[in-house]
Amino acid sequence: MNDSRFATRSELIGILVLAVFLVVILPLCLDVFRLNLVAKYLTYAFVALGLVICWGYGGILSLGQGVFFGLGGYCMAMFLKLEASSVENTKIQSTPGIPDFMDWNQITALPFFWKPFHSLTFTILAVILVPGIFALIIGAAMFKRRVGGTYFAIITQAVAAILTILIVGQQGYTGGINGMTDLRTLKGWDIRPDHAKVVLYFFEVGLLFACICIAQLVRHSKLGRILVAMRDQEDRVRFSGYSVANFKIFAFCIAAIFAAIGGAMFALNVGFMSPSFVGIVPSIEMVIYTAVGGRLSILGAVYGTLLVNFAKTSLSESFPELWLFGLGGLFIAVVLAFPNGLAGIWGDYVQPRIGKLMGTRKPKAGWTDNSVADGAPAE
């Protein structure tokens, strides 16, 4: 089996199955309301994908992915909010033409850092670059000094806490705890009606597959193998002459950018953005999506996200009390019994049987041994 290819045959089949599922089956089976929910769930799948690369392969557990999801989402929301705050839409305000929450906070002119967000091109660049550069700075500061493992996790958590307090506290510039609501149009195209939701869904699925492809490329390139090697024996990789820090920074940045794309799609699909996606709780929840799907499986991340969110919606509709027990139990079960999540179950139990039926051999997968990411504390 040639590892330098983009994907093995079974992976290609897996991607095709997912594509059929998302592009054909779901839109046919679900009404627009449910489809829009799936679109919302899928925005988290971007984060989960990023976590597969940075946590599953790189061994870097970030508990602050909500930060990047939020940054991407806020960049997008700022553009949409500016468009929704045209002078005629906001003529009841004391200063028309600025977002409503600024007016409520006695801000009379658009702050300078809002101005570039009139441009869609700038916004799209910002969605990718702002979180990317932020991740670069954090990553460089931490990994160059060999901060890793649990320390890194705790510090990213603190970053999430800081950003949340900042967003909530600077409500004149950010909308505070309410977030940015009532986003309406994208370049004059109304994002709220049903047909727009369908278009956005397909656009998002397209982006998701683009990200899956990038993740596949990373995984099958030399880079991906170095990441895995680093996770398992960091010192040996370092002694072999590789700059461990740079690879880690790269993985972290990729994860951050994926999360940011998810955040931007969230703002488009749901029509608002608020600090409740930036904090610690959502960040950890995003990690559990990856863990349920299988932290080493790119496609597993998507399925895991969908499954947990479906469970959340249906369970919290029918048994709100049980939901937290269920979610908590899921965390524990996945960690204790199925450290490789759905993908592990698939690889260990389902695939061999299918393989027997089809007469093909089970591909050797990296997760069959129990060497999931450890991440030892820095000295």
């Binding site: 919302k40 409520w104 307090i165 909530v168 506290g169 309410n178 977030g179 609501t181 029509g271």
Partner: protein, 419 residues
């Protein structure tokens, strides 16, 4: 708002109902089957809402889980009680109210998602729900897009008005100004110290209060401080209070922070019976957690206290306790939540229809004489005319009514001179 749009649809039936309303001016708590005959579904429901010949479905949308569950539990209980009582009294237009309860899980997008589900999938005729401003802001575009009707119970910062929302709590000017006037007159207060949680409602409320203190009362604000939601350390701000020696401490700290704030205030030797403190965020619900001994003597300014002495409230409090337990307390928002289903019922009967547009148009002028707080009426701007009251916290966790405005206070969500 297009009040005039539906005049042409006045059916003979509706006219009859209106006459019925006029003939029975006192719509008391449990009117005994005033409208025995149920009108045909096709006549009262032209937009495909979940109304059958015997039932009408409404939604209840609050957080049953997450951090806000603490506050919203009371609202859920009040709304369920109101629905039960309305059903016992014959329902709405001869139909029993059925409710679908959804959990917003203290998460704003979940609120929006569930509101959409209630409107699109369940086709509910109205939604009683939301608590925080953030959840309302998230739900509002959904209500407007799918033309739903929301009854929102919390006192809030104002600056909002929608055809699709009836605000059964007070907006900021309604709640604050009368209280400030009272304390300035009664205590001769000239200097004020503001302390609040760091989000939109306290900031907007304090902004309004500051304008009022400076421009109307000719007093001075000697400090304005905000703490992140959930903070539990207030010793520094208490020191600042001691340093500035304000005549009045004005607080809008919310949630669990309250408990820490009042306990530390007391521990620092600030005696609330000597140092006037006016709060707009502490109801009987919060005192449950704070402990009466820590807050006794503080003044609260809102529209309802459990201890109000009027016939409606004397019926309401025991009914509530019977339904939800002797130990439950009833705060301002809980009472406002109780108004929601009743106001909706009265409006439906006035409009003679469940159609949202007709309800929105018929809402102004609807009066509820059975309100535990006394009497309320819906204003043109979909807020309520209500009295503002000042109460003093007692050791047992109840408030003692000290002052109430002589007349109903007009709601003014976009106050001139306060922005």
């Amino acid at each position: 708002m297009s009040d005039e749009a539906n005049k042409g649809l006045l059916s003979p039936l509706r006219r009859k109902l209106l006459m019925g309303m006029a003939a029975v001016p006192a719509v008391t708590m449990l009117p005994r089957a005033s409208f025995a005959q149920a009108p045909a579904t096709s006549a009262v429901n032209t937009t495909g809402l979940a109304v059958t010949d015997t039932e009408v479905t409404v939604g209840i949308l609050h957080s049953a889980t997450g951090t806000m569950a603490i506050s919203e539990t009371g609202s859920i209980e009040a709304e369920k009680l109101a629905i039960e009582q309305i059903n016992a009294a014959g329902g709405v237009l001869g139909r029993k109210i059925k409710f679908i309860q959804e959990d917003g899980a203290s998460d704003w997008p979940t609120f929006a998602e569930k509101a959409k589900k209630l409107l699109v999938n369940d086709k509910v005729a109205a939604i009683m729900g939301c608590w925080t401003s953030a959840s309302r802001k998230a739900v509002l575009p959904v209500m407007e897009q799918y033309n739903g009707m929301l009854y929102y119970p919390t006192f809030y910062e104002g600056l909002e008005q929608s055809k699709n929302v009836i605000y059964t709590g007070q907006e900021a000017t309604q709640q604050i100004l009368a209280g400030l006037n009272w304390i300035a007159k009664e205590k001769g207060a000239k200097s004020f110290f503001f302390i609040g949680s760091d989000y939109i409602w306290p900031r907007t409320s304090n902004k309004i209060a500051r304008k009022h203190v400076e421009n109307v009362l000719k007093g001075k604000v000697v400090g304005e401080e905000y703490y992140a939601l959930g903070s539990t350390q207030f010793n520094s701000v208490i020191n600042k209070i001691k340093l500035t020696k304000p005549d009045v401490i004005f607080t809008d700290v919310v949630g669990g922070s309250n408990v820490a704030f009042y306990k530390q205030l007391k521990a620092a030797g600030i005696d609330l019976s000597k140092q006037p403190l006016l709060t707009i965020s502490v109801t009987e619900d919060e005192i449950d957690g704070i402990g009466g001994e820590n807050i006794a003597g503080a003044y609260a300014c809102m529209k309802y206290f459990q201890s109000l002495d009027n016939p409606n409230n004397k019926a309401f409090v025991p009914a509530f306790k019977k339904a939800w337990g002797e130990k439950t307390v009833i705060g301002d928002v809980t009472q406002a939540a109780y108004l929601g289903p009743w106001l909706w019922k009265l409006t439906v009967e006035k409009a003679g229809s469940f159609d949202v547009d007709k309800i929105a148009a018929a809402s102004p002028g609807v009066e509820f004489k059975g309100a535990p707080e006394g009497y309320v009426r819906i204003h043109e701007n979909h807020h309520l005319w209500s009295k503002t009251r000042v109460g003093r916290a007692k050791l047992d966790g109840q408030f003692e009514l000290i002052y109430e405005t002589a007349d109903l206070v007009e709601p003014d969500p976009f106050p001139k001179g306060y922005q």
